[in-house]
């Protein structure tokens, strides 16, 4: 199967990722002849900037066991055409999950090494969702794996799109009252778990010791729901 045929098969399999609602202003083109014309036009534009023409090729342009990138041909509002790359990884699998754990009234944070930043960050437990499991089941699994804790009460905090500019991936958030934390999962780059009162969390967000978006969003939702 050619790269384009694979892409078109993918589009048929996941129509929600290829919606063209009226007024969207950015229409995905799925007609093969039209795609070819867009590729030609964009490849000439890229060549003029000294970039390889191959970067105009429409299709599934990157894939591994975690991530899938597609490059779409699109028509903009003014009729001009372009190509756009987006990540559709979790969107075709299951949402990620992150959990704000509270132990005896204090919020639990983990010190987690982030490969992309080559640095540690204060985060909350979570990660990829496992296919075949509900988000609630995934939340229980992540808490058990990462901090060895059982859940006493689990409350959904809605979903969040961490970066709708570049990816279709969303995350389901939870608030969890937990039992005594056990061993942390050092293999995943977690070096420490701390429990902090709400005032300290707020002070650390204000002073930018806590900078992780997912912590901020989960904290905000829990606060607005009156859970903290």
């Amino acid at each position: 199967m050619s790269m384009l045929e694979e892409y078109l098969a993918f589009a048929r399999q996941y129509p929600a990722l290829f919606e063209n609602p009226p007024e969207a202003g950015l229409t995905i083109i799925l007609d093969v002849d039209e795609i070819r014309r867009v590729e030609d036009e964009v490849s000439q534009r890229l060549a003029a900037q000294g970039f390889p023409a191959a970067w105009a090729q429409v299709g599934i342009v990157y894939q591994d066991q975690y991530v899938m990138l597609v490059r779409d041909a699109v028509r903009l509002l003014d009729g001009t055409v372009d190509t756009c790359v987006r990540s559709v990884s979790a969107a075709v699998q299951v949402p990620g999950i992150f959990i704000l754990p509270v132990y005896q009234g204090n919020v639990l944070l983990i010190r987690h090494f982030r490969h992309e930043a080559r640095a540690w960050r204060w985060e909350i437990p979570g990660g990829f969702g496992m296919p075949g499991m509900s988000s609630e089941e995934n939340a229980r699994r992540e808490l058990a794996e990462e901090i060895g804790a059982a859940i006493i009460r689990l409350i959904p905090l809605g979903c969040v799109y961490p970066d709708a500019f570049s990816g279709a991936d969303s995350i389901d958030l939870f608030f969890a009252e937990i039992g005594t934390p056990g061993a942390i999962e050092s293999q995943e780059g977690i070096t420490e778990a701390v429990t902090l009162p709400v005032q300290t969390i707020e002070q650390k967000i204000r002073s930018h010791e806590i900078t992780d978006m997912i912590v901020l969003v989960a904290y905000t939702r829990a606060k607005l729901q009156g859970l903290l």
Partner: protein, 233 residues
């Protein structure tokens, strides 16, 4: 030049992206023989799961005009081998900008269609930064471009790490008091501009109508810094 040589050249140009922690993190392996061993190990592991062994190849594994995906050979804290991918944008280290705009005490919210999700989101103005501009300049340009707005004041709310993700650049958050605003930019996918009081905005976050991570993060910083109270005075 081979893919691996490109990767080594990139590592030499950006040593800050290849810093190894003292202990407890993931150590990047740059010794070629060891990298090859890790690739072989991972290829066997992937094959056992029915996945292509090419997913184990270390190097610059994807590239376009916006950035690259690197697949690094790493050793985990217990010394076991593996590979790890990350996205590095072409303008390495340039953060995005996000602006929480207030107009006469109300929050300006955009209804914006995103190509990546193929749906509308309610969110505040946000976009990429540029090497040629300071974050403040980029923020003012973005306000003008997205919603024809000019700001009387622009207050930095600090750095946000966007996660979990493959990219390390993050975003600079701002709070703006607008002097004026106009129409949403249709070419940017913006089809409506809403002006909401704080209780409505908070209800929409609580009830999951606002699900954009940048918007909620900027709101929290402004709230904790007491800026909404100041705006009401």
């Amino acid at each position: 030049m081979s893919a691996l040589q490109d990767y080594f050249t990139f590592a030499q140009l950006h040593p800050e992206l290849f810093v190894n922690p003292s202990a407890g993190g993931f150590t990047i392996i740059l010794d070629e023989a060891e990298m090859r061993d890790i690739e072989t190990f991972m290829a066997q592991k992937l094959s056992a799961h029915g996945l292509p062994p090419s997913f184990a190849q270390v190097g610059i594994v994807y590239e376009d005009q916006y950035g690259r995906i690197l697949r690094d050979a790493v050793r985990f804290p217990d010394g076991s081998p593996g590979t790890y991918i990350r996205f590095v944008s072409r303008e390495v280290g340039v953060p995005g900008v996000v602006i929480l705009p207030l107009y006469q005490g109300n929050i300006l919210l955009l209804r914006r269609f995103h190509h990546a999700t193929r749906r509308w989101h309610l969110e505040i103005p946000a976009g990429t930064g540029s090497m040629q501009l300071s974050s403040e300049e980029a923020a003012r340009q973005l306000l003008l471009r997205d919603v024809e707005a000019t700001a009387d004041s622009l207050v930095p709310l600090g750095q946000l790490d966007v996660g979990p993700g493959m990219a390390a650049d993050g975003a600079k958050l701002f709070y703006a008091q607008l002097a004026s605003y106009g129409q949403g930019n249709r070419h940017e996918g913006i089809t409506d501009v809403l002006c909401l009081d704080l209780p409505t905005f908070e209800r929409m976050i609580r009830e999951n109508e606002i699900n954009d991570g940048f918007t909620i993060s900027a709101y929290l910083h402004a709230k904790l810094q007491g800026l909404f109270e100041q705006a009401q005075q």
